[in-house]
Amino acid sequence: MNGAIPPEKIANSIANHQSKTSIGAHSIFLGQIRADEIEGKTVQAIGYSAYEEMAEKVFHEIREAAFSKFDMTCAHIYHSLGTVKTGEICLFVFTSSAHRKIAIEACNWLVEEIKAKVPVFGKEILEDETHQWKVNK
């Protein structure tokens, strides 16, 4: 989705699952933009771009793999594109299951897969308008 993920979107996603009464546990991961210091300059925002067709394909593959690996009821993934300012949310991963361990494990697994496999690129925009390209650790 374009820009930051608003907290209301997260509330709506949770509310949308209240009719699914086989769910006993939700696990949510949120990535938030940190105001890191890079050579004395503070990060103001990250500009995200992606190889969009491939990213969508990979998101789909990861989601399918998660459903065959974990006994989940639901899984949702949202990643920002475009500019996301420090303090704002850029990644929202949401898993639900009858039991907590499955929801938690599935959520963690999805986060690691997304970081490793989805062609998303991040440009850390510094206070003097210079930038540096972000690399996942």
Binding site: A50, Y51, L91, K115, P119, V120, F121, N136
Partner: protein, 78 residues
């Protein structure tokens, strides 16, 4: 044969473009093509650049007509 080449992130920055259509010799190898582009555009940190052909990551292969070849710098999702 024609191929469609895409550049992303800092590779696009180095190349000064995000996309170009190129004419390659039939049966050209991906590895050689990659090296050539890295040299031509002085792409930084070339060991970290991955290539996707038609949206699948590959190390090397024989390229074919109409391939979409994407130069991908390190991923930074999340």
């Amino acid at each position: 044969m024609k191929v469609n080449v895409k550049y992303f992130g800092q590779v696009a920055e180095a190349a000064g473009k995000t996309e170009e259509k190129l004419e390659l010799e039939k049966g050209a190898s991906l590895k050689e093509f990659k090296l050539k582009q890295i040299k031509q555009y002085q792409i930084p940190d070339p060991d970290s650049v991955q290539i996707a052909v038609n949206q699948d990551l590959v190390d090397d292969k024989e390229l074919t007509e109409g391939d979409e070849i994407a130069f991908l710098p390190p991923f930074a999702g999340g």
